[in-house]
Symmetry: D2
Subunit: 169 residues, 4 copies
Amino acid sequence: MELLGSGKGGDKIYDLYLRLEQDVLVKDPDVVIIFIGVNDVWHKRSSGTGTDYNKFEAFYNAIIQKLNAANIKVVLCTPAVIGEKTDFSNELDGDMNKYASLIRSIALKNNLPLVDLRKSFLDYNLEHNPENKEAGILTTDKVHLNDNGNKLVADEMWKHIRNLKLTGN
Amino acid sequence: MELLGSGKGGDKIYDLYLRLEQDVLVKDPDVVIIFIGVNDVWHKRSSGTGTDYNKFEAFYNAIIQKLNAANIKVVLCTPAVIGEKTDFSNELDGDMNKYASLIRSIALKNNLPLVDLRKSFLDYNLEHNPENKEAGILTTDKVHLNDNGNKLVADEMWKHIRNLKLTGN
Amino acid sequence: MELLGSGKGGDKIYDLYLRLEQDVLVKDPDVVIIFIGVNDVWHKRSSGTGTDYNKFEAFYNAIIQKLNAANIKVVLCTPAVIGEKTDFSNELDGDMNKYASLIRSIALKNNLPLVDLRKSFLDYNLEHNPENKEAGILTTDKVHLNDNGNKLVADEMWKHIRNLKLTGN
Amino acid sequence: MELLGSGKGGDKIYDLYLRLEQDVLVKDPDVVIIFIGVNDVWHKRSSGTGTDYNKFEAFYNAIIQKLNAANIKVVLCTPAVIGEKTDFSNELDGDMNKYASLIRSIALKNNLPLVDLRKSFLDYNLEHNPENKEAGILTTDKVHLNDNGNKLVADEMWKHIRNLKLTGN
């Protein structure tokens, strides 16, 4: 098994759609893990260029459809965090939860495996962030992951990839 | 006892400060109830003209100071809701919680009575909004109160005003 | 010759890209006129969901490339107006000019005909809007076109479509 | 004559109002120069916390009124630039022009001297910025002034302060 990264800083859902053929489909993957959403929410605040909820859903579904058409297994992820406080008082928690809920419902509707990173990050912080800090547990700066954050993502993804292999070929 | 309204649609914290003398102090009140914050959060999204967190705090404290200087009893309120869903997936829940927490800490620091409407609204919705709807329980449109919402605000405020009178003159 | 509309309210550049095959290419057109950009600018202010300048350029070029690959003649338009004042004091004039300049340079680089509606609307308003009003000359509400606005767009587009036919088949 | 600075980075119009007594009136000045507006426009885009046009006007007038009541001469300035391009294609030029126009009309209505820095900066750039660059002529980064920018501001202000003195005591 080989793992290939195609992620790009600053990407929003429609950027994935634009790059899908040239950056992903050309590699003829067996499985594609979609991990997107932080910038779609964050950029609403930081630059006025986030993604409308209904457009996010439309592009997300369009990506799944293209991957299905190419017989590629798809794994979805919820976006993890913009701020690590555990009492839902991070500025963008409401919108993050809204987009995470959407991805959960897309996974359910399409019967696709879901790596619920938003839930995993919250559970981890509930245990390891008793002071309710906004950064420093799994991220360096509220958004970008530190070593622990990267390890948590890898562990959670592996659980699902491994299962896929067992039920696959 | 006489109740006088001085609220104005669209106001943010600094608008209260600007109108304080001409609209409130001139009436020589015994008690002033401050109920503000929804627009400070909401306008960030709707028109790019919300209020910075640190500026919100500075003006809030400046208002309390002016009321203290005039020997007026002050009662604080947390902003209630922008969306009535109970799982913190209303788009602006994170920022609402952040500003509500600030007001709670200002009340604590200044030993002022607090009408925690955000908590009251959430408690009410946890009981009466089992379908997790975003409007229609206490608001008509996620923000503006219906009759039940107005009654809940009145009831919660009255609890504190009554107490004030008992310990007052 | 037959004229077919495929425009949709609320669309931004990436929405055109998403709908290109199912709504445009299936009709096997000889010519496609691209008229987009107002929402990409406007939504930055109204909902925090406008389009980044560099992403706007990337999707615009991707659309042209797909139309070129299908041997379809392409005509570009600059976005017309968000506000009709003629002294560049409409709130979003700067960003509108920035995106219009980009489209002009894309037309030049690709040697494509350009319907410069932003220039046409300004010229018209310089003549017919001596009171520097923000709406009512070519729009009803600063953005949506009235009959005069629609006629101006049709006239300007026709000049270029007619020329295309003369030099075409 | 003594010159005293009371400006503070990040301030918007209402911050001036909040600080007026403690930072300006206590110094018992003969003349006050008001130079504000960039953040009121800029923060709409950068953080969703700019200032509504009508609120900007209300606070601006309230400041003038307080200074008048203290018999202080008032000099107004238009905000200079967010980007130095001369063809009104800087992203925020429209809103900058809108707020500058408002200040010009306030000066006219109150018969107050106006240092029209926005006009001075544009005139300077029309002469010295033939390549239509967005920074580097009078600013380091589109907003913050370099030595030439500071000198231009000082020169323009001096013209008006000198005149005030001649007609004053």
